[in-house]
Structures are given as structure tokens and as C-alpha cells.
Symmetry: C2
Amino acid sequence: MNGPVAPAADPGVEPGVDPSFDPRTGEQHGSVPHTAPEQVAEILRRALGAAPRIAGTSPATREAWLAAVADALRSHEDELVQLAGEETGLGADRLRGELAKCAASTVFYGAVAAEGSYLGAGTEGIGGDSTLSRWNIPVGPVAVFGASNFPFGFGVIGHDVASALGAGCPVVVKAHPAHPRLSVRLAELVADALDRAGAPVGSYALVVGFDAGLQLVDAAEITAVAFTGSQGGGMALVERAAARGVPVFAEMGTVNPVFVTTDAAADSAGIAAGFVGSFTLGAGQFCTKPGLLFAPAGAGIFDAVRAQLGQVPRAPLLTAGIARGYRAGLAGLARAAEATGTGAEATGAEATGAEAADTFLDPADGYAADPQAFLVRVEQLHPGSRLLEECFGPVALICEYADAAGALDALVRLQPSLVASVFTGGPGDPESAGVVARLLGQVGRVALNAWPTGVATSWSMQHGGPWPATSRSDATSVGAGALDRFVRPVAVQNADPAHLPAALHPDNPWRIPRRIDGRLTLPTA
Amino acid sequence: MNGPVAPAADPGVEPGVDPSFDPRTGEQHGSVPHTAPEQVAEILRRALGAAPRIAGTSPATREAWLAAVADALRSHEDELVQLAGEETGLGADRLRGELAKCAASTVFYGAVAAEGSYLGAGTEGIGGDSTLSRWNIPVGPVAVFGASNFPFGFGVIGHDVASALGAGCPVVVKAHPAHPRLSVRLAELVADALDRAGAPVGSYALVVGFDAGLQLVDAAEITAVAFTGSQGGGMALVERAAARGVPVFAEMGTVNPVFVTTDAAADSAGIAAGFVGSFTLGAGQFCTKPGLLFAPAGAGIFDAVRAQLGQVPRAPLLTAGIARGYRAGLAGLARAAEATGTGAEATGAEATGAEAADTFLDPADGYAADPQAFLVRVEQLHPGSRLLEECFGPVALICEYADAAGALDALVRLQPSLVASVFTGGPGDPESAGVVARLLGQVGRVALNAWPTGVATSWSMQHGGPWPATSRSDATSVGAGALDRFVRPVAVQNADPAHLPAALHPDNPWRIPRRIDGRLTLPTA
């Protein structure tokens, strides 16, 4: 789920609009005007006005709003998949699947809100007649910067929007320039569905354009920012918002490792096929893409991967900028993989990449990318190596190790990442437990005998890893915990029971778990 | 709980040591050497080595360690209170009370760990044979920067240390230069108690000196920082640690407001007496000090406060630097309070303050501070006004309002703060609910008919407010939620049940709440 927040300028881009390109042909089909500063200001005013009204609703009310949004998405599936295909080239099957998952997750975040644990409600006596009550309140208007690579999952709709609305916050979304026409249409559907479901004016809005995005980050009305994209874009937002103490939950790109144990390598053909399928999925444009596979030497996995790459159909990348970046990245990786040194490779690789980028794009070809794999040695993998910079697209590295313990030592010295996969010979594999335990110090999720690209929207999902995989390692942008990003705790001492929120009324009208005098209690059945 | 992280150099300070001054007399009694860089490096290596060993213990084990620490504190009460008095001048009654609260809260954080909700443990099926399990792991070694004003509550021991150990993290504390001898003695007792209780070598250590503190913030071994002190010190740490993505939980100084409704002002004498008691408590050196009181005009509260100030005994401030800062702050507030403009006052006030500071300290007088109160008008209170900068010491502002709604409008435009108090005429007071609701948008805690300086260590305490009161408004440094700062979630997909942590063993050996297939379950009785 990566991609630059501000794309490199593409040839022929008009000022003041986001042009819509078809990555399959490179042709432009119309454009969408940027939102003017005064329009952004009005959107922010409305969001601020909506904030206390949304905060005053019950979680069940917002659950109904989110169900209405999901219904609107499902009932416009054909139109949305068509439009998304024209702007992303991702293919109808993938897009139908993503839209269905998005609708289901939108419903899920409503259910998480209604379950009520996210409210952290509790009350207790603290001596004498004094009481203390604590619960979580929505932070206020949230700005969402969506990703290029998940037009339905992370952006105008998807995990950030639904979890913020579920937590009781108005949302202002910045359209990703990779799919401006889809963004506008999705936003119309969402705004209309929310409106018909009774959500207040200002609950949701879209802005278009890089400057409009900056205006959001700097706006006093915005109290939290969710971002999915590149490290450069994410860290720029983190730094900009830090000046006024606004949290940015940035999910950024890192290289996700896969570790194949000796026992697991017995099925080298299966591992190779699964790896190729995972790192070329969606043309390799996943933040969960497995970018670096460690396998025992002698199992022939690199050769098997190379052989299978020829069968992967060429697929277009999302934008001309991503296609240029991929070409440059490939050139850099090739130079770094060939080099024997420990750092000197980077400069040469970048120069080669820059030259390659200038001559890359043939409009008749769309933004097609050839999948690629490189063989590297353990000694080449050190923090700061060019090999460990994420290359967005269908490329991965394979490290064939002679010594499993040494390879694992090298792995845990690398940059932390969002997710890792471990392939084992099953529960009896003696390496399994040790590898998982060490990887947990580096990542947010370890998938055993499963590829990292499958992400469930569920109660126990963790989609966020140690910095710089995400800006806050204690946050997740997928799963029930996603709501926690958009609330903060408040306490009231000696509250008049009549003035406590419904979450803490003595008769528990919302039927939520609560902590009463230190003891966690569940609603009676 | 404020005070500079690096104090202004005091006259006569030797290089390489933290001198110990008695604030009651201004005399120096010895000094403590700074920790050398190679010693700090060794401490960090030991902490890193201890991290997985502590992470592998049960919460009940750490509960026992914390109980041992509390016992050690209680059994050395006389010695510790004597030493703390010599370095802080805070008085034996206050110090005995603070030490007793610290011991009790140390036990409390152990109980919170053992209850186990902080582990956020859950497991679920996610389709087919796949499972997903999630729980919180300790982040690793934590650096704690203590405060000048709570020698037992926030620093070498206290909330940050006990909650980090409870969460399973090794702790390295930076001694506050206001009480170096006490810090060394406390650290000896804590380290010895932990050692005898069976905690691994490296679980806890103290470093002394400003440079040693910087070394901690920059160290790869340190994964989180807790700080209690001034805005300047806190923000410097936040920025420094941001470069490598390390979270800093900084609890900083802001001006905490008090709102007195028309009904409540009937007891103007009681309000005035309570206010003076609260803002001069501990010589006004509390982060929860009520710094700005809004009361109806005509109730005579300002006059009553001024009359009572004469009865408050002079008390020494903690350090010469704080005493100079207080004198400068008083001068600035006096100028700003007299001015009619909206900003022009600041420059003049600062100049006066600087001049005053040069001629302030008479060693024979210790660092004594005269309590003071200023009357200000609603129109003078605007964001950025000199009046709203925290002045550490026994001073407060009073704003007598003619129009309650207008005063409340002004109040919520001010800088957010840690806590607010509201005094009402009781449950029937028509203003009460509205005032509380509006203040909750600005603060972490609202105390009704109670002064903000009383902070309970309990399940529902929230001791953290919107930035810049704290660097993270979703965190608390007091109460059960304090542990949450020092853990992060991890998920394992398709884990072999035998490899799951005890928190997720099928038979629930730790007897903790868990979320199984989406449903929160409590341990059976």
C-alpha cells in the first residue's frame, strides 16, 4: 500500500487538475480539478461542526451508517470496478475482490464500534465520596491520505475511513492522484449514503490536489492524520504535523522478509510458486509484498523462481511515476546485487537508474513492468544497503544461506518491517519456534506457512510494525484496533451520574464491556 | 511535575558532577559524578540483554518484583525522607506522603500487570484452517527522565519506572540534577530489591548527567522514553528521538484552568481558601497546579485570595534555576496583567524578568518564593499571550467574568492542559454539564468540586491531555493505562498452539481476560 503522496510530475500534466491516465495504454481520459483553498476551508468548517454531533451518537447508530456505505458500494460494483480498472489497470477480478472485502470491512468496523470495548469505559470509587470515570472520546476531524495501490481498501473508502467514522470522527479524504475520477465517484456514493442514513452534514468529504492535502495537514480543525504510502511521503507528513502535536498514523513501505527453514525447503517448487505469486500479486504493488526470501542453499529455489517468472504475464504499474521508479529501482538492485562491497554500490546504482528512467516509457506499452528476482548473499545485507530499500513493483531478492543461524542473525539486523512469513516443515520443525520468536522483535505480524500478502480484517489483525514500517508501532490500520487511533481517553472526577455518557450509565444501555471498581465486567446476556 | 531537563548552570557548579544543594539554605552538600559514556554503554548493553529475559516472565513474577521494591522503599522511609528534604526542601509531611503513595502505586502497577488486560490477548479463526493470534509484547529498554518536583513520584522510582517494569521492560533512569544524592540512594535500594527478588541483571539502572541523558535518547537499545518536565525539555526530547522513530511520552507543563459557576461562587471564601491551598501546594511546583481561575465578578474571590496569600508561609523552590525562573515569570506576568494590549506586553515583561533574575538570589535566603496572584480580564486571554505560559511556582491568575458563556468561550480557545477543575453548586447547577462537556475537549481530566492537584493512582485515572500538555494525548503517565505506553501488539498467523505465549494457552494459565473468536471472555472464577 505504497506510493508517493505527491507523484513526480508526469509529462503533459496541466496545472490545477489531477489528470486521469489509463495505465494499460498510457492515455489520458479527462481530469478532475483541484479543490480550491476556500473550498477546503469550508469543508474543514463543516467537519468541525459535525464532530460533536457525531461524537454524541451511539456506536450502533454509526454501525448503521457504515452498513449503508457498504450497501452503496456493493450496489455500484460494476460501475466502480470498471472505473477503477480504467485508472489502475489492476484487473476486474482483483478489483471485485477488493471491493467486496472493503464492503465487508466497512461493516466490520461498525460491529467493532458497537461491541464497545474501544470505548475503554470504566468507573470506580477513589476514597470517600470521590469517584473517577474514564472513557474514550473521538479526537475530532481526521484527514485520510489514501494509497495508489488499493483504490477501495485504503483511501476514499476503506480501513482508515471506516474505522475513523466508527470511532465517531468526521473524515476528510485527500484523493490519490492515481485514480481521481474513481475518487470523485466513490466520494459521491459515500457522502450520499451517509446523508441518507442520517449522518450530519460535514461527516465526510473529499479534497483533490497536493496543495489541498497540505492544507489539511496544517489545519487547526484536523486532529489526526492517517496515511498509507511511501516512506518519503509518510515521514514528510509526520514531521509537518509534529509542529502542532497532531498524530500521523503512517503505514509506509519496507522490505518484508520470508524465512524458509531447512525442513520447509523440501517443497522447493511449492515455495517458489507461492513466492512468485505473492511478490507479483497486483504487479508487486502491495505494502505486504515479500521482498526478500531466505532459503537454504542447494534447494534450488532461486532457479525455480527465475524459471517461473517467465510465465507471469506483464502487468501495468499504477502510474508513470511508479513505472519510472520501478525501472530505476531494478537497475539499482541489479548493480547492488552484483557488487561485492558494503555500501559503495549505491551511488553507481542510482546513476544507472536515473539514466534508465529517462528512456523508459513507451506510451504504446502502457506502464508495463517485467517481474524480476535477484540472488544476493548474506554478507551483502546490512542496514543501509541499497538492497533493502523498498522497490515498488514485481521484484524480490532471494538469499540462499548455508548457515541458518547466521542468516537469521543477518535478518534481524535489517530494517524492521510490517510483516514476515516463515515456512516450516510443520509443528515438529525444530527451527520454527526460534525463528518466529526472533522475527517478532522486528515486525508487526508473522505468518506461518502463509504468504504475507493476505491480510484479514479481524479482531486480532496487526497491520503495523516497528518504525519505519509504520510511524507508530503500537497502532494498526487494519482490524479492530484501527479504531483506537482515533480516540483519546478522558476522565471525570466526581461526575454527576446523570451527566456521564451512555457508556457509563448504571444500566449499561449500550451493553458494552466496562471496568467497574477495577473489575472488567461483560454485559449480561 | 515540571522542571527543566537541563537546568541553567548555577554559579559554582563543577564540571563532571551534579552538585547537591539544600534549597532551604542555598548551601552545597557534596556532589555526584556523572556517568561516563562507556559506563552508559555498558548499562545499555545489560538492559538489552535483560529485555528478552524480563519479557519472558509472567506478570505475576513482575508483580512480586514490584512488591519487593515497595517494601524496600517503606523500610527506608526515614532515611529517604531526610535525604529528600535536604535536596528539595519540600518538608517531611509532604515527602512521607509522597513516598507512601509511591510505594502503593508501585504495588498497583504490579496488580495491573497481573490482571492481564494490558496484554490485549486474543485469538480467532480467519477462514479454513487459518488462525490469527494477537498480544502485546514489551517494547524493550525504556529510558525515564524524572522530574524535579516529585522525587519519589516521577523519576528514579514512581509511575514511569513501575509501569515500565510491570509491562516487562528494563528501565534506565536519568537522575534529575535537583536531587542527585537521593537519586543514587534510591537507585541502590531499587536495584538491590529487584536483584534479591530475582529480576535479571540489567533490569534497572541509573545514569547521572546531562550528556548521559542524551546518550540514552540516542541509543539504539532504547525503544521508548518517558519524560516529566518542562515544555522546552520535553519537546527537545520528542524531536531528538523522532529521528529514529522512538516514542517519547512527555508530560509537560501547561496552565490548568478552574471554572467557578455562579452557584458555586456563593461559597467564595471556601473557593478562595481551596484555591490558595492548591496553587501553593509544594510551593506551586505541580504539573497539576491550577494556574488560572475563572470566577463570577462580584463574588470577591480575587480579594479573598489576596488576603489569604499573606498567611501562606514562604517556601523554598527546588533549585536556584527554578527560583530565578519564578522571579522572571512573576515580573512577566505582572507586566502582562497590567497591559491592555493583545501581545505587545510580552517583550517588555521578558526584559523586566531577565533584569530581576540577575539580582534575585540571596544565598542566606535559600530559594524562597513569595506566593502571588494576578487579576486578569477575559480580553487579555488569547492563545500566545504571556499570561498563558506556565510559571512554575506559587502563582496563579484570576479572571473575574461578567458573562459566563463568554468566559467559557475564551477558556476553550486557550492552550489545552492536563486537567481542569469545575466548581458547581451541586448536581442541580444548570451550568455544570455544559462546562464539563466543553472542557473535556481541552483536557485529559475534569475534576468536579475538587482541586486538580490530587491525582489518584487507579484504573480510571487519565494523567495526560491534548498536546502540548503531553506529547501523546492517548497516553497516561498515572493509572492502569500507564503500562500501555511500553507495549506494542504483534500477531502470529497459524501459530502452533504449543508456541503461543502463556497469555494465549488454551487453559489460560495466567487467568486473564482474552478475546476468543471476537468475543471478550473473562477468566472463570
